[in-house]
């Protein structure tokens, strides 16, 4: 299989990730619940995961809250900052993981900056919206549909300038682009463990720069006589037994990234992206490309996008079509009705795979949409 759906999950992990998951299943008890060897082994694996994340994202280990996925982290963060009916500024490229929790809170949402790959538009619209006042801002680092890298450093600076707390959705950037909690000064940064961080599915991280409100209450293995959740991190936001095998695997994914560096990952992915964009354009496809683009590209195949994706699937090529759980981003780009086909590269992508994909693309039957 040629795997070009890393925006959904990274399919190939470094071998040590698989080994760590299997090892944890054989050796780990319940972390933070006992002093015997197996419980302590589990606790050490979780702490190792926090340490690796803290190193990669420049924060302290207890600021690293272990979640089920990025959506889980975003929900905690949003519920912590946004009251029902509150005013929130978001970018024009948000995923449903952001917009649905806001919708459930009946938040007054301003989607600021709708022009793809246009930092000037993004920043002007974002500042104009912040000026009107907001309880919080939530924005993605990279559009999951188009790979547009938003100017998050400047957006963070604007939030600080207008004293508006903010949440960064790093679903598509963590592990691929440099990201520093310390530099950004975010209240929360949410990310999945299973995409660019190369861990197993069912893992995510929420980096906390502010006090979070628990989504769930329950046992933490600490201060058990108290009926309130602990008031300190990470216990406050981690009730119940954690996915120890998953985080043991994620620790190895993070360790790999700390060793090779995100710059190396980005360069490899970006090389493939450029080849892909060039090839698709040569085939006459409508390709959404521009400056500030990560390792993801969307295109219109000249036929129904889902049928096109199936055409590729039948030839052993995995990619994703449709709305990618991000109707707002498609609306911004004018592709809400058609959807797009998305190609997203990963850390282990190779020249041959891109050429094979382009060869298959050249054989796409052209139906009218």
């Amino acid at each position: 299989m040629i795997y070009l759906d890393n925006g959904a999950t990274s399919f190939h992990k470094p071998p040590q990730v698989y080994r760590a998951v299997a090892d944890a299943m054989r050796t780990c008890g319940n972390p933070g619940r006992g002093g015997y060897r197996e419980a302590m082994t589990a606790a050490r694996k979780l702490f190792g995961c926090r340490e690796q994340a803290a190193q990669l994202f420049s924060c302290s280990p207890e600021q690293v809250v272990l979640t089920n996925n990025c959506t889980h982290g975003l929900n905690i963060a949003i519920r912590s900052l946004v009251k029902p009916g509150g005013r929130v500024v978001i970018s024009g490229f948000e995923h449903n993981a952001v917009t649905r929790p806001l919708h459930a809170l009946k938040a007054q949402i301003t989607a600021a900056g709708r022009d793809l790959f246009d930092w000037e538009d993004t920043l002007e619209a974002f500042e104009a919206a912040l000026k009107k006042g907001a309880d919080a801002a939530v924005f993605t680092h990279v559009s999951n549909v188009f790979g547009y890298i938003l100017p998050v450093d400047q957006m963070a600076k604007l939030c600080r300038q207008y004293q508006i707390p903010f949440i960064l959705d790093a679903a598509q950037s963590a592990g691929t682009l440099p990201l520093s909690m310390e530099q950004l000064g975010a209240d929360f940064i949410a990310m999945p463990g299973h995409k660019g961080l190369l861990g197993p599915q069912g893992t995510g991280l929420l980096l906390c720069g502010a006090e979070g409100q628990p989504l769930l209450q329950g046992g933490t293995g600490s201060e058990s006589r108290q009926q309130e959740m602990p008031d300190y991190l990470p216990d406050r936001l981690e009730p119940g037994t954690l996915n120890v095998p998953g985080f043991a695997g994620l620790r190895e994914g993070l360790r790999y990234l700390n060793r090779v560096g995100t710059d190396a990952v980005y360069r490899r992915e970006h090389d493939q992206l450029q080849r892909c964009i060039h090839g698709l354009k040569e085939l006459g496809m409508k390709v959404f490309s521009g400056p500030h683009q990560s390792a993801t590209v969307s295109f219109l195949p000249g036929m129904d996008c889902e049928e096109a994706a199936q055409f590729f699937a039948d030839r052993g090529i995995a990619l994703r079509a449709g709305l990618h759980c991000a109707p707002l981003a498609h609306e911004s780009a004018g592709t809400l009705e058609t959807g797009t086909v998305r190609v997203s590269f990963g850390y282990d992508c190779a020249d041959g795979e891109t050429y094979d994909f382009l060869r298959a693309a050249s054989k796409l039957p052209r139906f009218s949409q």
Binding site: G221, S222, D235
Partner: protein, 87 residues
């Protein structure tokens, strides 16, 4: 040498403390806090033997590790809470 318990509210805090001490070559053992020491119920401690506990506590303070209480072995060999001042 005296025998000390340093308690923490969270296993993660205790692990950070353990790591900070390890980096400075201080040997300690991470274990569950004895029930009688932990009024809030359930926690983790670092157990260590030393003649100089203040430098140990200073390492933890420098590492911004949130500390709980400190217990030390008294003259009668029993552990007792020890009030410390790091200011």
């Amino acid at each position: 040498m005296k025998f000390y318990y340093i308690t923490f509210r969270s296993v993660t805090h205790a692990q950070r403390g353990e790591r900070a001490l390890q980096r400075e070559g201080v040997r300690c053992i991470l274990l569950r806090t004895p029930k009688w020491m932990e009024q809030r119920g359930c926690g983790y401690s670092l157990r260590l033997w030393t003649d100089q506990v203040y430098p140990v506590l200073k390492i933890l303070q420098a590492g911004k590790v949130p500390l709980g209480k400190v217990y030390r072995q008294g003259a009668d060999g029993q552990l007792e809470e020890w009030n410390f001042d790091l200011s």
